[in-house]
Symmetry: C2
Subunit: 196 residues, 2 copies
DNA sequence: CATAATATGTTGCAATTGCAACAAAAAAAG
DNA sequence: CTTTTTTTGTTGCAATTGCAACATATTATG
């Protein structure tokens, strides 16, 4: 697909490159056309949180954060990525060049936003679990549902999973071990099988 | 405003009444025209979480939860509420009665969804804080920003605030006391002043 | 206004979690 | 194929948190 609108930018990123930093002034909306990326935050204690994990066709950008969070937020490529950059005002107010791209995006906006909301609500359900065990089990049942199988590969390194669940890695490893010992799960490498 | 479409329902609720339960089959979308309400979840351990707190013009409903969460979710009126009930398909596929209401809602959907996303992202930021102290401080700074003042009333009971931050109430009370003792905040009743 | 129900405030104790530090394994880089 | 870097796995210990059980204050309700 060829982009004929001067206001849309398409860029490529290599693994570990920063795709964008949230400055919350430019009203940027991005679409991940290809690859995987993480939205990452470091708080003032140096704790890293993987706020979201993006796959093909996921959207992200400053427009989702108005109130300043005083923490640095940035999106990092986890593999080779192709990203489209829009300015939200050009979508909302209809691009003057009246290009297909902007119009089509405007049509799809509700569906895109809706799937984003669904993702965020699942995220909140995970984070609101009180213990590491409950977070792990909730996360596993989610991935299991997605893959429609009791056996699946965690799409994260375990280090990243801890940052995603917002818990200490070593404490999470300990809990994983206990879950194995108690016969709730089987695990080898990043492959998990639910035994319940 | 008079509703001329037979597919839209408007209902009133008294305090503590259940406005809707999420069954995730009816594709329901609701708009809170008046009052305040909480989206509440109880997990299998009996822990209550206030997932979201809704004010006038906020939206909620099943459409935001597709993947079954196996936990009971319901919306509870915290004061007298007036609520509009839509079915999302009637909005998306354009209502056959071609009523103003559905059309207008369709127009506003992106903005409504967007503000929902912004709310959810702030929620995630709170929940991903590692300690009760950090959750409290992040929450306070949020309310402070909203009210544009270092001094503000918490719009929750403290019991509800604990359920909102997903922490034990007594542990939260303890932390509040320590924050007072260490001179970070002043607090009397549900009125808090930030001293930093 | 009396009574019931709910919310606030407190504490000891046990369980969970985070931190620090390390060894071993695996993956990436040259 | 070596070397470097990152990830996994483990543990002791300290800090944080949750639980249970209260007393008191405040708010609803008849």
């Amino acid at each position: 697909m060829h982009i004929n609108c001067s206001k849309i930018q398409q860029k490529e990123f290599n693994k570990n490159e920063v795709i964008t930093t949230y400055i919350a002034k430019r009203n940027q909306l991005c679409i991940l056309l290809n690859g995987e990326a993480d939205l990452v935050r470091y708080d003032f204690n140096g704790n890293k949180t993987i706020v979201e994990h993006f796959n093909k066709n996921d959207i992200f950008g400053e427009i989702f954060y108005t109130v300043s969070t005083n923490n640095e937020l940035f999106v990092e490529a986890k593999s080779k990525c192709i990203v489209l950059f829009f300015v939200y005002d050009d979508i909302k107010n209809k691009c003057k060049e009246n290009c297909n791209f902007h119009n089509e995006l405007l049509m799809n906006l509700p569906e895109l936003f809706l799937s984003q909301i669904i993702d965020l609500n699942m995220r909140i359900e995970l984070l609101s679990k009180r213990t590491i065990r409950d977070k792990l089990l909730a996360y596993f049942s989610l991935v299991s549902l997605r893959n429609m199988s009791k056996s699946f590969a965690i799409p994260f390194s375990l280090t990243d999973l801890a940052d995603y669940l917002s818990v200490d890695r070593s404490a999470m490893m300990r809990e994983l071990k206990i879950l194995k010992e108690e016969g709730f799960i089987e695990k080898s490498g990043n492959r998990v099988t639910l035994l319940y």
